[in-house]
Symmetry: C2
Subunit: 548 residues, 2 copies
């Protein structure tokens, strides 16, 4: 129980934070909060692994594989990971089921210790995330390091809370008139079985650790199947956890890495295996929909969707345009929270200086997006690199998408990486009728400025889009209290949260652990939420025994 004692205060503080939903993190998000030497060490640690086998999982395997390509270098990073294969992975996970017998306090302590060890490698995580996902250094540091640890800690804390909220035993006494009926009772949270966590290529730890730690804290052994192009970051996290498990005399196969290649994927074989009872998934909708239909599994998905901006009126239109440009351009729109469509009434946008026409607003957005990408100092860091070259092809293929492209092709200068795979963001001005264009999730550097007959149609279109295609967020700008209420009511009815009048440092893209529930679970963008009580409770079964 030593790790639990060590982290008890932190865990209790985390449980409190997720209930009061105030700002909380034990992991500072800025690189400057860490020792200067760590940056250099982290970069070297990653570089020295390139073109080598990733040995630190301590896994025996006949086959080693890996085909990660850096979107910044556009060359393979040459790291190979042990690939035991499906049957060995399942066999080893089954052999690690005694994890359920480790009590909740010990489990929590061990899992938090793994995060503390990961914390020491945030810079290595950042560089490996950059060179697999294409994120900028800053985003990679924050998303894969502190913010990812936050989400993992949140899952541990919610699990700790849910499992300890009922007593483990009790003498139950029922008055029966002339006598009392006494029964001793116990309650156990029985894990469901093997958990499979399927990662995505763009956020290899942030989207993986919630499911991984949620299944682990509830006593299930876990197999993590990362995207074949983004393995390193989560392999590092798993390696650290395996080290702690091993040191504690436990079976390290409580958490395993299951790497594969694009051409020989093992995801279906793992998902359909009868011993796999829990599936966490981040990725495209068609595979997510397939996973959700599998019988006898509890599936937690974050799939694709189309996030909208509703632009009605503004006190400071320039600040609003800047926020729109930033939220759509960050990491070239490869965030699940990035907006793609900007719905604007045909009459234009009301400002204190008068109405600004739809065309003018669309032009402003185009200019701001281009300005940001082409900015000599901030451009490269904002748009970062494109993870998958298919993303570029898909957008290039669209031509003018049946509308009018209001941005010009620009060169994005990345002084650090001259071969970075970048694409200049496209802003398309179009009309409401052009649903074939703006209703598709392009998950990349494209923004549709859509002219709507009026604000009511803008709102109902955004809500229908969320209801039918899914949406994780909505960004809205209005100075009219009634319109704001209407937006809130209609988007919320489609189970989509709204961020109102964000400017400056407030970004719709950011969902903070302990405060913002990520993905509502109520529309096609996914059926699960980081991290609500249901996200935990579905992973185990309460069983109560009684003793006369």
């Amino acid at each position: 129980m030593s790790y639990f004692n060590q982290y008890k205060e932190l865990i209790i503080r985390a449980v409190q934070a997720l209930h009061d939903r105030s700002y909380f993190t034990p992991y500072p998000e800025h690189p400057k909060a860490y020792d200067e030497s760590e940056n250099e060490d982290g970069r070297n640690a990653f570089s020295s692994k390139m073109n080598h086998n990733f040995e630190e999982l301590g896994v025996e395997a006949e086959h080693w594989l890996g085909e990660e390509v850096s979107p910044f270098l556009q060359t393979g990073i040459g790291i190979k990971y042990p690939a035991p294969g499906v049957s060995k992975l399942i066999e080893r996970a089954n052999n690690a089921k005694s994890w359920a017998d480790v009590n909740i306090e010990e489990r929590a302590g061990i899992l938090v210790e793994s995060l503390e060890r990961v914390k020491k490698r945030f810079f290595e995580l950042a560089y490996s995330t950059m060179h697999t996902s294409g994120q900028s250094f800053m985003m990679a540091f924050q998303a894969s390091g502190p913010h990812s640890n936050d989400r993992a800690l949140e899952a541990i804390a919610m699990g700790y809370y849910e499992i300890t909220r009922f007593p483990s035993e009790l003498d139950w006494v029922k008055p029966m008139g002339k006598f009392e009926l006494k029964i001793h009772k116990t309650w156990k949270a029985m894990p469901k079985g093997i958990g499979l966590v399927i990662g995505c290529s763009t956020f290899p730890t942030w989207n993986t650790v919630p499911g991984m730690y949620a299944s682990l804290i509830t006593g299930n052994p876990v197999i993590v199947k990362p995207h074949p192009k983004s393995i390193y970051p989560i392999a590092l996290v798993i390696a650290e956890l395996r080290n702690v498990l091993r040191e504690e005399g436990l079976n390290p196969d409580i958490c395993q890495l299951a790497p594969d290649t694009v051409n020989e994927q093992i995801t279906k074989d793992l998902a359909e295996h009868p011993d796999v009872k829990l599936i966490d998934y981040t990725g495209g909708s068609s595979f997510g929909d397939y996973l959700e239909t599998l019988k006898g599994k509890m599936t937690f998905t974050e799939k694709s969707g189309v996030n909208s901006i509703i632009l009605h009126s503004a006190n400071d239109l320039d600040a609003v345009i800047q926020n729109i440009a930033m939220s759509t351009s960050l990491y070239s729109g490869q965030m699940c929270t990035a907006p793609q469509d900007v719905f604007i009434p045909a009459e234009g946008v009301h400002t204190p200086e008068g109405v600004v026409s739809f065309d003018e607003v669309a032009e402003k957005i185009g200019k701001a997006v281009t300005g940001l990408a082409g900015h000599p100092k901030f451009g490269a860091g904002t748009v970062a690199a494109i993870q998958n070259e298919q993303t570029i092809k898909r957008i290039k293929k669209g031509g003018n998408f049946g509308g009018m492209v209001v941005t010009e092709e620009i060169t994005i200068v990345n002084p650090e990486f001259e071969h970075a795979r970048t694409a200049s963001p496209v802003v398309v001005k179009t009309k409401m009728e052009n649903t074939e264009a703006y209703e598709i999730d392009y998950f990349g550097p494209i923004v549709f400025a859509v002219e709507m007959p009026d604000i009511n149609t803008a709102i109902s279109t955004a809500a229908d889009l969320a209801r039918n295609q899914g949406a994780i967020t909505c960004l809205a700008f209005t100075t009219d209290a009634e319109i704001q209420k209407k937006i809130e009511r209609e988007m919320n009815a489609a189970y989509t949260p709204v961020s109102f009048n964000f400017t400056g440092a407030a970004m719709v893209n950011q969902h903070a652990a302990f405060s913002d529930f990520h993905t509502s679970g109520g529309n096609p963008a996914g059926n699960a939420t980081f991290v609500n009580p249901e996200y935990i409770n579905k992973r185990f079964v309460w069983v109560g025994n009684r003793y006369a």
Copy 2:
């Protein structure tokens, strides 16, 4: 908010009780705790409704229907209920969705008030439950009255807790180095849509109110589709709730009754309607399995299963036999918690007086079961009446079930109801190989005493049966600590709770609200639990808005 203020203390006490899982009820379970006059009044209230229309729902409908038959009288009770039909029911439920705008405190207060009004009619509930389900007066009083109210209150309390555990708003402040980022946030629990609650014939309120109140406390309008043979008891509960809603100026269609007939059932039409998002169901497995496959619905089921007794050793075998006889005979085995199979090692049962052979134990069980049913004073009240004549036919058709019937046909004397539909309980002695007999759920007055090669086989067979056919409970008798551990481990692994060495007033059949989770949700006997957090959380979606 007046009702909330009135019941605030009770609700908070209930929230505490369900978390500490100690004995708690505001509704005394014994009829003697109530005014003597209430009994007479309740009987008269029910009698005077016979052969009349059930008007008190205040529902307009062209069609009225009803075909309930008293298992004690074996005549129809002649009561007709308003049947608006599927499209009207859905339309009215959709018109009642503003229930979501009533805040959680008001909702809780109104729902508790409905239970307080139901409390005043516990005796009428008892008589109507007797004359629809065939339960004895005492069971009908307790199960449909206080115990049912307990379960409803438990659902209200869990809902109140889950929805108020996160703040409804907060100023979130994030330190950003040189400045602070301040965002105002709100969180709303958005209901999923219309809830459909499908009742069963044997426990018309106890099995219906948890889903009904769980959907209501979380803001969903509810349509209750009772079993066509057991409508009255839940119609009474719904009528009382509708009265409170009406008095509070709310739409009474927040909760509607949807009666139908055996030959023209509307359950599928309701369940498959796209506006129905939540389904609660108690009943047979095949229909439950169908409901669970419906897309776009959250389904909560309690289906059939086979509950086992494992009889290994005992300090007081007679007391054990008596407990087995009582648990299998109560309401003629028509309880979802009633055991059906008694697994006994071939070597016999160890007692302080020596080993008692399998044959002797089987004989003892047969004698005890027959003795109980034939008891001039307690027999009629114990076995009560058979709800559905098919139950008797099914068991009669089985003959000796490939084993040996160790009980003789006896007459059950019911001095009060000479036409009561009863069946003398059958005890069949058989062997492990005869799986075709004892692996079927007969849901009626039959007990299989099964000779097993050894205790380990007895345990693994009971566990496999639970895993494959489902089980809600297991009753086990052993004086050996190691065997006890093994039983617990193997049955719990099949997500089945075990009651050990129950004698006297401790009955495996009873699951107390606030303490015993009813149905684990982890095996085929059902996918939901009265009332765990998941039972509530799946009925709504957290949506968080942010305001700069």
